[in-house]
Symmetry: C2
Subunit: 353 residues, 2 copies
DNA sequence: TCATCCGGCGCATACGTATGCAATGCGTCT
DNA sequence: AGACGCATTGCATACGTATGCGCCGGATGA
């Protein structure tokens, strides 16, 4: 009775394409009923539902989310655009995002911007897949593409980044306050010769941390501060520290734009025979896991990453729910985690005596 | 003349859904021509093509890859299933995979298996999105789901993992030889009391490395070897080292199943006042970037990661090209990178004298 | 000059699912 | 008893693109 054309498939391997129609036929129902049974539509009798499920199981049916997305106009896919994942702060964030998104029933399509690549280069790719939203962790100062996306109703959320002009949501920490915290701490510890190793110059995080640090130092009457350019890598931190420590007038207090930079600086100090924190205090930013390792015991500024990620996803959910919701900018407070890479401020030492 | 029902959209925000039909209308051609113009089908005149392109640009048209995938039966999406990305060896791999996949014109849908989650749990999700292939980096000994996938013609490639029984492709390094290398090296350095800190017990990498290490030691007549269970984390390595160094008969040679474990062990030794490598030699596996940092200078076994990833993608391309291609298993040789965390073998020391 | 061929394009249909609407059957209320 | 409401299901169509087939016109060959 099966009058299908013989030998349609050339290859013996089962090119199995079980559709809801097949399931419907086996279960003796209409395709629409199968669809309803699988989209937890309550309007289907329990008895029918189980019949559909067993039929689906015997056939090995899996709903095709692409087809579903085509009609529902929702892919349940969120694009995550990052810079190099390699930098050790990113993977933790990425991991958490993926886990949480899955708990929300969404998947993550991950895009990494190459070394010289801008966000705008990978944006078209993401749009082609009709992702529901965009989470951007990549460092960019401005992006016409992002603004376009937001204007078209596609939720865009910047994580730990700020894009000038674009009317998009953003979640970050108070980088300026973090820089100020570090300055106060170092001054309180009685330091006199200050230095800063920068992260990527075109990133908002670097700019803000630098601004807070320099501003607070100036407020305390410190005029001259050494400034070394750099990027967010271990090697960059190492080399910048080499330049600083090789000077005739090396600093005794060093703030690094991120922990990974600070670790490089610490290793350089170690290799140069500079004692930490006796000769040099070093403070980082981010509080990555390695900062707590006893080889470094890096004093650093901690951001509430978990809360920031939760906030990001909350905004995401809201925007997905109501595309007309206005963009939100949330900043979280930071705290200074004192470990052993920086001298303790005087007042703390007094208290200890 | 436009007789569309008025006020279809409630919200003022442009719910722009520009389709190829819209572009076709503006360009004065048929929809199929637009499709051809965008799928580099040569059967379209240059003049027409540019007309289509300009029309698309003015409308802000972006091809809908979901719809395309529905008919072409190809999504150009590859699923990458990982364990925790947090472990510092994974991000580098992930980053490289994503970059290379994009160079191939494919995107990565990343799934992370939770702590207690098996690959089989996330597999259905991946299948629903009709991914073209599956790259699995997660640690699993056996998986019925993977075998099913492979049987259904979906290319599955295991990276640095081996799944018993499943007839799937795999790329890895020679973990057994690596373990042997370490054993020979430590014996050559004149050590007598050996220990091993294991990674996750149910991972093939751990089993193989352990097997090579213990086997070579036995071949050299070493009978008793301390064995500490553990998992692939810094903390686990730290605690295992604590247990080992707290013994009345602590080891003087330690092989850790991975670098991240070794770093924990090194920090524990540092905190315990055990000198490395004078009192204790430590060797890891993987050669993650941190192994080269001067705070650790970890001697370790290096795998040719780049070549392994390239091989993986080559297999992928082949299997996508011809689904009937048989599964391949490739193993790459490893090398021992001698740094300063382990005593040098005697013969080298002799040569130095 | 006519037959042939081919590049270029339109027409129609398929991909797999969701969903509004209608139809059916059953229970309940007046 | 008749009307009405509700639950359940089928029917038909839409989502946006790719592609086989056919048509047309111009170029080429004899």
């Amino acid at each position: 009775m099966d009058s299908k054309p013989p030998r349609q498939n050339v290859r013996p391997v089962s090119v199995r394409k079980v559709t809801s129609v097949d399931v419907a036929r086996l279960a003796g129902v209409n395709q629409s009923t199968v669809s309803r049974a699988f989209s937890d539509d309550r309007a289907v009798a329990d008895e029918t539902r189980t019949r559909v499920y067993t039929a689906a199981r015997t056939l090995g049916y899996t709903p095709n989310l692409l087809a579903r997305s085509l009609v529902t106009q929702r892919t349940n896919i969120v694009a995550i655009v990052m810079a190099h994942i390699s930098s050790p702060y990113q993977p933790y964030i990425l991991d958490k995002f993926i886990q949480e998104l899955r708990a929300m029933g969404r998947q993550a399509l991950v895009f990494t911007a190459g070394p010289e690549q801008e966000v705008d280069d990978v944006l078209p790719l993401a749009l082609q897949y009709r992702v529901d939203a965009l989470i951007v962790t990549s460092a960019t100062l401005s992006s016409a593409g992002l603004a376009d996306c937001a204007r078209d109703g596609l939720p865009v959320i910047l994580f730990n980044r700020l894009v000038a002009g674009a009317n998009v949501s953003a979640v970050g920490c108070d980088n300026v306050a973090g820089g100020e915290l570090v300055a106060d701490y170092l001054i309180g510890a009685g330091h006199h010769r200050f230095a800063y190793i920068a992260g990527n110059a075109n990133s908002s995080t670097n700019r803000e941390r630098e601004q807070g640090y320099f501003g607070a130092l100036q407020a305390h009457g410190v005029a001259a501060v050494l400034h070394e350019p750099g990027e967010y890598t271990y090697e960059s931190g190492y080399r910048a520290a080499q330049r600083l420590l090789g000077r005739p007038d090396p600093p005794d207090a060093l703030f690094c734009a991120s922990d990974i930079i600070a670790l490089g600086a610490l290793d350089c100090a170690r290799d140069c025979g500079v004692r930490v924190p006796d000769d040099l205090s070093v403070i980082g930013f981010d509080d990555i896991p390695m900062a707590g390792w006893s080889a470094y015991a890096l004093s650093t500024v901690r951001q509430p990453v978990s809360r920031m990620i939760d906030a990001t996803l909350a905004i995401l959910a809201r925007q997905l729910d109501d595309p007309t919701a206005p963009p939100v900018i949330e900043r979280f407070p930071v705290t200074l985690v004192a470990r052993r890479s920086a001298r303790l401020p005087q007042r703390v030492e007094h208290r200890r005596l």
